[in-house]
Amino acid sequence: MILFALRRFLGFAATLLLAAVVIFYLLDLLPGDPARFTLGVTATPEAVANLRAQMGLDAPAHERLLSWLGGMLRGDFGMSYTQRAPVAGLLWERLAVTLPLTVMAMIISMVIGLPLGIVSARARGKAPDTAIMVLAQLGVAVPNFWFGMMLTLVFAVGLRWLPPGGFTPWDEDPWLSLRGLILPSLALALPQASILARVMRTALVDVQGQDFIRTARAKGLTMGEAVWRHGVRNALLPVLTILGLQFAFLIAGTIIVENVFYLPGLGRLVFTAISERDLILVRGAIVVLIVAVTATMFVVDLTYGLVDPRLRGRSTP
């Protein structure tokens, strides 16, 4: 198991490193000089050269890459030249919105999707199954940000239960902050819940036809008991893969949905940074996003190893 985990970790680290290198060189190709950008067009060439030296821009690319990578390991993502603040701090501030939103959406989609998938598989071909699958078909087809708008129309404008947008910082009133995240997380979660329900159903239907379920029934279990004791855990294996991908896409989805609800998250920061050509900030944000995505995949891999003994090799001599 330790070997298995180690190998996965090496893969995870390699992916991250490669991604960082690719991003660095891609953004390094860009025309435009941050120093000139900072000082404006009226600055003298000497002043620009000075600042370039100060920012370490005159070093060869690979040296700057190394110092950037080294800095990130120490938590230093460089300085944003539009906001004149450390990138790490800016990102951290925004993650306080994006991460809770993603996690909430993830929990909601699991709480709704998995049980519905199980119910659907158990009632295969009957009315509840049809109803759930029609809903899921609809859910998969709805763009999450548009769904967010519709939710706002109903629950914020129509029923006035929840705020239509904006965000109260956590340290002022956590309860209000949480309320602000309910609609966005629902908008993110429901399409994902539909996918989960479909995947869970397929996986469970698949497992129901397997020989070991018949063995369990032969022991004296009813079909329902056999599925519950032996089927669900096996069916969760394919679901786990989807969960991993899902977390990644929820992070990506938040970037879009934040726009609907005017949430000060990572997405809004990135879009501002792009329009102001603040590449150091863009670079930092992309790295954070990729770390989140890759780390999720890594955790899923490890969980896979924990759940499925076939993956971790011989556990006992």
Binding site: F212, A218, K219, G220, E225, N234, D308, P309, R310, T316
Partner: protein, 526 residues
């Protein structure tokens, strides 16, 4: 009153009836066998008895245990089945929950059906089925097929049932393991005085295990009676055919053999790299560990051994699908290590595969598939190539208009003929046959073997037959090589090797051989 009574049982799927009007009884401690070919409805009959019919199946007739009809309520039926009936299925690879330790799975069977302590019983059960305690701590994928089947038996015994139903429990196992599992079932039934309902396509297995048999064909029982009389003097045509095809008649035809060796295998070793990274890399698996052999022109040599002994790997190296780690092969004087077999020599060897269903690309016509090896004959024009195809397909007893068809239009036996035809289009000298008949229904095995013998005589072919089936080998081979753990351990003519086996493995193989049906049997039956 009978322990189990089945009356007028039928199983329907929509409009088609898979089982019709099946009636039989099973007495306490009796061993009853149902034999039939695939699709005869024998498995559905067993599932009906246990209330495990697949969704969509409609059952008619009545089944009762101790005179009580089976309960209609699902939970009651489940508990009854758990308490009274133990079951062992065909596929030991998939029949166990892959995520649960073996002990836990056995324990579940005990606690479900008995209130007394389970901890004490698991070791006892493991011991009863010939496993050690440490096996209980493993996951199913860490056990061999035979060990898993033993676990299945332990689970079936956990509730101390009075009926054991075994559905093809040994057909996925190799010869020696099969014998051991059959012996185990017999021994346990005797000791526990348990009734056995044994379902199999293998007449020999039913013959050694059961005192009474029923023959099933197209959903009906065609003949029922004591095993000895049904098999030695069958009353029905179908039973007669079944009994006849279960024996391999000697199909040897006169053929030229001897002379200079066509194929020489010289100290071939094949290692497979195992998992692990770099420093932690596991020791390589040695599939073939220094094999040397020679096959003369026109000979028919058989290579026998248990599964995993390396015989298939060796065959792949000879035909150029895999490469030896060291050593070399010489075909007609040309030396190679495997995949480097030169193009000009590739036409001289060919291979017939075991599974007739997987050996044809479903998207290509038979002509396209058969014509594939002809790319080695660059100097042939289209007309000549077409003539080769016709010649090959007619040689195996099929018609040339079948060339335009697709594989799914043929039966298993026909496909195996087609596979042989494909092996012949380049007019090879050596044909390697990997279990050429083991995937076929018993009734067509004889035909295919006769065809092979005829072709050998006609074209002067040299055969290397890879098999685990001792009886088949005895019927066709001039010379037998016995292989174990990557080495050849014994060699000789079939007569001497089977009459006086020298090596331990050969002796075990011979001992595991089930007697032909109708042969006098040393009676061990209850």
């Amino acid at each position: 009153m009978s322990l189990l009574e089945v009356k007028g049982l039928s199983v329907r799927f929509g409009n088609s009836e898979a089982v019709s009007d099946v009636s039989f009884t099973l007495e306490r401690g009796e061993r009853f066998g149902i034999v039939g070919e695939s699709g005869s409805g024998k498995t559905l009959t067993a599932l009906a008895v246990t209330g495990l019919l697949p969704e969509g199946a409609v059952m008619g007739g009545s089944i009762s245990i101790d005179g009580m009809p089976l309960p209609a309520n699902e939970r009651e039926m489940a508990r009854l089945r758990g308490k009274r009936i133990g079951m062992v299925f065909q596929e030991p690879m998939t029949a166990l929950n892959p995520l649960m330790r073996v002990t836990e799975q056995i324990k579940e069977a005990i606690t479900l059906n008995r209130s007394d302590s389970a901890q004490l019983d698991v070791p006892y059960l493991l011991e009863e089925v010939g496993l050690e305690l440490r096996h209980g701590e493993r996951f199913p994928h860490e056990l061999s097929g035979g060990q898993r089947q033993r676990v299945m038996i332990a689970m079936a015994l956990a509730s101390q049932p009075d009926i054991l139903i075994a559905d093809e429990p040994t057909s996925a196992l190799d010869l020696i393991t099969q014998k051991r599992v059959l012996d185990l079932i017999a021994e346990i039934c005797t000791r526990r005085h348990m009734a056995l309902l044994f379902i199999s396509h293998d007449l020999k297995a039913v013959n050694v295990l059961c005192s009474r048999v029923a023959v099933m064909h197209r959903g009906r029982l065609v003949e029922t009676g004591p095993a000895a009389s049904v098999f030695s003097s069958p009353q029905q045509d179908y039973t007669r055919r079944l009994v006849a095809s279960s024996r391999f008649e000697v199909t040897r035809e006169d053929h030229q053999s001897g002379g200079a060796p066509l194929l020489v295998v010289d100290d071939v070793v094949r290692d497979y790299r195992q998992g692990g990274i770099w420093l932690w890399r596991e020791k390589p698996l040695r599939a073939v560990a220094g094999v040397g052999l020679a096959i003369g022109n026109g000979e028919c040599v058989a290579l026998v051994g248990p599964s995993g002994c390396g015989k298939t790997t060796l065959a792949k190296i000879i035909v150029g699908l895999d490469s030896a780690t060291s050593g070399q092969v010489r075909l007609d004087g040309t030396a190679y290590r495997g995949t480097d077999l030169p193009r000009e020599q590739r036409r001289d060897v060919s291979l017939v595969f075991q599974d007739p269903f997987g050996s044809f690309n479903p998207r290509l016509t038979i002509a396209q598939s058969l014509g594939e090896p002809l790319r080695l004959e660059e100097n042939l024009d289209l007309v000549e190539k077409q003539r080769r195809l016709v010649e090959a397909i007619e040689a195996v007893g099929l018609r040339s208009d079948m060339l335009a068809r697709y594989p799914h239009e043929f039966s298993g036996g026909q496909r195996q003929r087609l596979a042989i035809a494909r092996a012949l289009v380049t007019r090879p000298k050596l044909v390697v046959l990997d279990e050429p008949v083991s995937a076929l229904d018993v009734s067509v095995r004889g035909e295919v073997l006769a065809l092979l013998a005829r072709l050998q005589a006609e074209f002067g072919l040299t055969y290397l037959i890879i098999s685990h089936d001792i009886d088949m080998v005895r019927a066709v081979a001039d010379r037998v090589l016995v292989m174990e753990a990557g080495r050849i351990v014994e060699e000789g003519s079939p007569e001497t090797i089977f009459a006086e086996p020298q090596h331990r493995l050969t002796r075990e193989l011979m001992a595991a051989r089930l007697p032909d049906v109708g042969e006098p049997l040393l009676d061990r039956r209850a």
